[in-house]
Symmetry: C2
Subunit: 295 residues, 2 copies
């Protein structure tokens, strides 16, 4: 029997493929992976469309052994539905390997993910460099390993897709210290927060160059102070992309300074930092909604 990973695409219950729908309908059990992304519709809508009960698979279920998830997949078909495409998160590759190790056959039904949706910004897909992830800074943890990656992309004239932090069923730092997890409310980083963080790091680099005291612990976060050239300034162009591939999708072009004050509504958000724009790309970007109100 087969363990299926099935991409749902970016929108709602209408974005599954015919192949995906057919597969879901014949599976004995169907799970929805509900923590690396967020489904913009109610699970009940999926169930009505699929004619199948859809169970939520949370972080613990997917990551910790996956015994429940894979139980019986050697004797009947089991599906895990994933928002977007199936292989964006390490989690799903890990799950695939664990299933294979148990001798369970695995199959995939692909669908569109954020990397497809980003095409609506008019940037060439093959001119994107390494994707980076921005996570919220805390008092103790300010990961900036993305900085030299972004700088390297920019130096090569490449576009950068910045994936923004998603915190679903994350234990609080205090509760972890006490050994009994208490979960934070779900949070999704906005384009404005991402732009603010980029500007914050640029400010830290300036302070450092000026010999001022540094607010971060270099040993924990050495990267923004690496010798690489500045990756961007407050005037660097960014493209905010909210709810990509959904009916309420919103795109906004502006400088990082402008985007730091922009409001793009409900999650998920992504930030794209274009590299050098070819003529066609520049023309396309000029047709997108601009912070300044021009279009």
């Amino acid at each position: 029997m087969v363990f299926y990973l099935i991409g749902l695409g970016l929108g709602d219950e209408q974005d599954i493929t015919l192949r995906g729908l057919e597969t879901v309908r014949w599976c004995a059990r169907v799970y929805l992976e509900a923590y690396t992304s967020v489904l913009p519709v109610d699970v009940a809508r999926l169930e009505r469309q699929y004619g199948q009960r859809v169970m939520l698979a949370d972080r613990e279920m997917v990551e910790d052994g996956a015994d429940d998830l894979l139980h019986g997949a050697d004797t009947s078909d089991v599906a895990l539905l994933v928002v977007g495409d199936v292989f964006w998160a390490t989690t799903h590759q890990d799950l695939w390997l664990r299933a294979r190790r148990r001798g369970i056959e695995c199959a995939v039904v692909h669908n569109a993910g954020i990397m497809n949706a980003v095409g609506v910004c008019g940037l060439q897909m093959y001119r994107f460099g390494e994707t980076i992830s921005l996570v919220w800074f805390t008092e103790r943890w300010r990961p900036t390993s993305w900085y030299p990656r972004l700088a390297a992309n920019r130096q090569r004239g490449l576009h950068t897709l910045c994936l923004l932090d998603i915190r679903v069923k994350e234990p609080t730092e205090e509760s972890l210290a006490r050994g009994k997890p208490v979960y934070e409310a779900p949070r999704f980083m906005s384009v404005a927060e991402a732009a603010q963080q980029l500007l914050q790091v640029a400010a830290w680099r300036r302070e450092r160059r000026n010999g001022q005291a540094n607010p971060t612990n270099d040993a924990e976060a050495p990267e923004p102070y690496c010798a690489c050239a500045e990756a961007y300034t407050a005037q660097t162009l960014g493209i905010g992309l909210a709810r990509a591939g959904q009916a309420t999708q919103q795109i906004l072009v502006g400088t990082l300074e402008q985007l730091a004050r922009a409001e793009l509504g409900p999650p998920l958000h992504a930030l794209i930092i274009p590299g050098e724009l070819h003529a066609l790309e520049a023309e396309f970007v000029a047709t997108l909604p601009q912070v300044s109100g021009r279009q």
Copy 2:
């Protein structure tokens, strides 16, 4: 009214999304873009599934003005179906812009493309660098601008997706010189041909370092002789991916030397050159079919 660009996904008529199918059914005219990729099934199968006549849009129709394609799109809905996702080829962005310039509203229905399908090789999507395109060398034209890009990806430890040449309705060089186009038979570069071309360029670089006469005109193709470090050797690992996302999909892992002799069957093919493999990636790649027969 609306001009829709609708991704068909990578397989057959079952890979369209429910949203895509619904959209196709209400459109007044439906075209299939049939030259930047190749549909693995007969158009008649699409027509049966969609309950709509599907007209082929060839290169001239899509690129030269698009008058026929967009005719009437201001008064009735028109769809262009694209194999994979819609925004991989510059062509489709160009078409979108031309429609917008005529005041026609445009919309997109995303689907999986090669960048999604590549996930089945177990490499992390966010660790891919710039995508490169390999085209067949001719006597007069040996474009190698991909070399420094591949080298830069490799230097940063990033994976590289190599898209392989597709020649559909290409006029022959002789016929162009005579001013009356005669078209070549469709050709699709195989993983073996791609690996052979990589090895050929490595050999040219070696000859050049050894001061030997150079078979190419440096002014036309300076890149493989740029000062960048060697991007790969014959022993570099590659992953051949044939018919990605289709039922007959085939994956083969081997050195470039091994892949240069590999047979992966019908098109389309893609070649992936992994960068540094993280532990999970290495474990996943080890489970894939290997040229050596190990798995």
